[in-house]
Symmetry: C2
Subunit: 227 residues, 2 copies
Amino acid sequence: MTYCYEYPRPAVTVDVVAFTVQQKRLQVLLVKRRKPPFAGAWALPGGFVGIDEPLEAAASRELAEETGVKEAYLEQLYTYGDPQRDPRGRVISVAYFALLPADAPVRASGGDDAARAQWLPADHLPPLAFDHADILAYAIRRLRYKLEYSAVGFQLLPATFTLSELQQVYEVILGEKLDKRNFRRRILRAGIIEPTPHHRGGGGRPARLYRYKADAVAEVKARRLFP
Amino acid sequence: MTYCYEYPRPAVTVDVVAFTVQQKRLQVLLVKRRKPPFAGAWALPGGFVGIDEPLEAAASRELAEETGVKEAYLEQLYTYGDPQRDPRGRVISVAYFALLPADAPVRASGGDDAARAQWLPADHLPPLAFDHADILAYAIRRLRYKLEYSAVGFQLLPATFTLSELQQVYEVILGEKLDKRNFRRRILRAGIIEPTPHHRGGGGRPARLYRYKADAVAEVKARRLFP
DNA sequence: CCAAAAGTGTTTGCTCTACACCCATGG
DNA sequence: CCATGGGTGTAGAGCAAACACTTTTGG
């Protein structure tokens, strides 16, 4: 292994854009920076990639450090490498996006190290450090887009859920009302979720619970669901 | 600027998957490695990212070094960071994909440094060095996919072209015959190309020449063209 | 029995697909 | 006049969009 001769090397980090849906809003996980640069500003959780650490493992680790959540849908987003993006020097950042179930055991603003991590609503964001506003904007675009043709929506829900809950996730993210009957027909025809025998009572008639088929996660058809 | 203390840093490279269409086949630009590891094997063109060089600039430079082509459609593909992907040590590679017009002034297998760069048909590839076979497979998938919903096809053609030429590009890449009338209707309705007043004679009736609208390149609608 | 949320079909318009013949030029 | 590739329209099928009432439970 040869390090640090021949050429100077950039630092490599991962940044994670973690989404969840709470209180009928799309929420993003942000941390408050304590050190300069941008001390006091909000930023995406992230950090350096270990020299023997796979990129996705680094993203997963950063996410776990801030939330305590070990398992989540995680996908590489884009790599940001503008030489000026970090005033301290050349830092190349591989951005990931993560979807957390609404019931994930998140300890944001809980433990010692994670005290600074918080969910903030995506439609009402403060200014962000570095180029994180760009990264976040792109992540939201990609999330909307993915929702339209694949069917990652249920990654934001518990293991079982009602169709109304699923529809609400779609409405929150796409920012528009959807027709109940058309939504159900399409989501069922897509064949990625299946009914369970259970129901959940609430303010009215109990709703059937659904779960996603395990095999469907793999073969996420590249078919458009919501034009 | 602080380099090389605190943590060891990975090396960062770019690799470029450059496509063109020649002889009714999709061709990929590859170079023959002269040094170990994988000496003698084919590989994607690529190299280290300069410490003050933007990522896309590095990709563009590598492409120009191998082909002499300065301007081409270039898009970030994915970042490969498996710790074992390079036997020499930790190397993170940001992969790009490039589309070159059929008439680009490519000097592959021409000049001194570029003597080793060659176009090889994508459907008949030799084993590749590192994880380049994975990268290439993904690039082809992405190319097909992009062709279906956006309309990058004309990036593989000269500034003006006939509809038959454009259709042939689509057929070569998608690997299936398309209906002439349906193809024309859709590609014209998409509004990204426009007729010129000129025609080109050939073996039969002269064909109208088209060009892509300059403004259309920006607003590549995310609308599916070929389901 | 009333409030609250779940569940369920049909009609209409549009888009995609399949398909076959005439046209303009060069040799 | 013949060979070569360029250019054009329509009918049928499948999909998406709009739309309102009945059902089940808890209080």
